[in-house]
């Protein structure tokens, strides 16, 4: 029974190791966020064009520009501006946009929640779809159906976002069918949940792009799993086919799937920029593109850091889910 004792010991070490791992990831994420804040601040400082000039437009006089510049604190040394900014950030104050004179937090809040809704909805479509397609094509690997689906997967996956978005607008909105609105004109006063048809196309575009990548990953993992000894043994044991597939094989493909899903989730927030632009969707991406164009640097800074934060948070959550799903004895925890 030394086995048992060893396992018990290993178990307690494992829980400790998990905590330490989380702590380390948190610390490293915080550090990276700090570095990121410096980089983002430096990058926005280096953007050409004078903010005051941009805000006032073509018809302003130099005196007006100077006056606005000092009113906005733009003539302070850069390091002071940075420290003030970070200090305010730490107190939860994102500042006020130079351009819209609105609190950056307010801008960020609605835009972020809109984008989150689109990404989540696209996830609700792409994840189940990918699991079903991935399992189906793995079971039927190299048959005609697999090849056809693979071709479409590769083609969709290869298409730049705006190409797919434009094709979907042509197909489902403007030219062939008139099913969904081609523009996501959300009314700001109304909950996005009450306006879902308006965001159907952006969600669909994103979902197709996600699925075309994700399903192939599920397929590849499932092929590995289906070739494993334990699946063969389950069949030799006399387990029914359906049981072998869904109870024995699929659960073992979930861990890599969760990892990939986490990645897709995190990078969707960057990838959605172009899609939002095509559909004029009021999300983080269009806000960012607008803000870069208008030199609304506080908004650029806030959005970039938010995207980074989402990335780090997603990674940590993904790792936690992975650990929860990983069976004990393989690095998982009970």
């Amino acid at each position: 029974m030394s086995d048992q004792k060893r396992n018990l010991l290993r178990g307690s070490n494992r829980a400790g190791a998990t905590l330490r791992m989380i702590a380390r990831r948190l610390a490293s994420s915080v550090l990276l966020l700090c570095i990121m804040s410096v980089l983002v601040f430096a990058a926005t400082q280096a953007l050409p064009g004078d903010i005051a000039q941009m805000v006032l437009g073509r018809d302003s006089t130099p005196e007006q520009v100077d006056r606005l510049r000092s009113a906005l604190n733009l003539d302070a040394p850069v390091w002071r501006q940075y420290l003030i900014w970070v200090g305010n950030l730490l107190q939860g104050d994102f500042g006020v946009s130079f351009v819209s004179r609105q609190p950056v937090f307010d801008i960020l809040q609605t835009r972020l929640s809109n984008t989150v809704v689109v990404v989540l909805l696209s996830f609700l479509i792409s994840i189940p779809l990918s699991l079903v397609l991935g399992v189906y094509t793995a079971v039927n690997a190299d048959r005609v159906s697999d090849r056809v689906i693979l071709f479409f997967g590769i083609a969709l996956n290869a298409m730049p976002e705006f190409v797919l978005a434009l094709l979907l607008v042509l197909l489902l909105s403007v030219q062939v069918f008139h099913i969904f609105p081609g523009v996501a004109l959300l009314s700001p006063g109304v909950s996005i949940w009450m306006q879902l048809p308006k965001i159907a196309l952006p969600v669909l575009t994103l979902a197709l792009l996600q699925a075309s990548y994700f399903y192939r990953l599920v397929r590849a993992t499932m092929i590995d799993v289906l070739a494993s000894d334990y699946v063969e043994f389950a069949r030799l044991k006399g387990m029914p086919r359906r049981n072998v597939l869904w109870r024995q094989a699929v659960p073992n493909a979930l861990v890599p799937a969760v990892q990939a899903a986490g990645t897709i989730f995190a990078i969707s927030f960057g990838g959605v920029v172009v899609i939002e632009y095509v559909f004029a969707f009021p999300g983080l991406g269009t806000a960012l593109a607008d803000a870069v164009g208008a030199r609304d640097i506080k908004v650029v800074q806030a959005i970039t850091l938010t995207i980074a934060l989402i990335f780090f948070a997603t990674n940590i959550v993904t790792d936690l889910i992975t650990m929860a799903l990983t069976p004990p004895g393989r690095g998982g925890v009970r």
Binding site: L32, M36, A158, M159, L170, Y213, V273, V292
Partner: protein, 280 residues
Amino acid sequence: MNKSRHGYMVQIASNRLAQVGFALILFVAAIAFIGPLVSPHTHSEFVGTPYGLPTDGAPLGTDNLGRDVLSRVMHGGQDLVWMAFCATLLGLALGTAMGLSAAFFKGWTETVLMRVVELKLAFPSIVFALLFVTMLGPGKGLLTIVVGVSQAPSVARVMRGVAMDVVRQEYVQWARSVGMRAWRVLWAEVLPNTTSPLLVEFGLRMMWSISLLAGLSFLGYGIQPPAADWGLMVNENRNALSVQPFAVLAPIVLIALFSIGCNLFAEGVTRAIGRTGGTE
């Protein structure tokens, strides 16, 4: 190991997906590079009214300024393909250097390099490119570098994974134990054993480079007019998609064929070398 590498090459060359992918790449590259030599008009010459439908003089019609779409399509791939290629090579070189170094030296080198990778990954490529292009202006060189650099971290992750297996091999350990210089071990022993995954990465990165460059052009942050560029052409002419579809569809089809070619090639190589892991 030279023999096995040769074997891989044969397998890759005989893989149907890789063949089709490579043929597509060649086809589009041929249009891009031979096109400018044989195009009926220059890329900026006015041959008709804006958005004219196909005629004998302009088989694909005219664009927003009345220029010949066919000639612009023939001129518009050279820069894109060339930039995507250079950006990909840059991304692969940088990423491979980072990945191999991380796997080989371990310790602090690895920690720092991998943190840098993570930092960059938290910065979506499109946002990264948008900021830098706005900052430094949309020059071809800069676009290439920005796109290349933004590809490097993903390559670094993959190559680190690959190299970790190679570094554990006996001949590498042996080379290190007899006191070969680190860079020589990397160059002569580790790198040659990563060719197949590098080929896969090449296909994938090429695809993303095209996608990113075209996306930037589409947002107006790419190659600037009056140059002919497929991404820019889509941007310039998409208003008239329903009037003169060829001005948009021709470049879209070529972009799509090229990136599908790259993706097929990557998938084919992956299958040929039996790496079943997730391809992007």
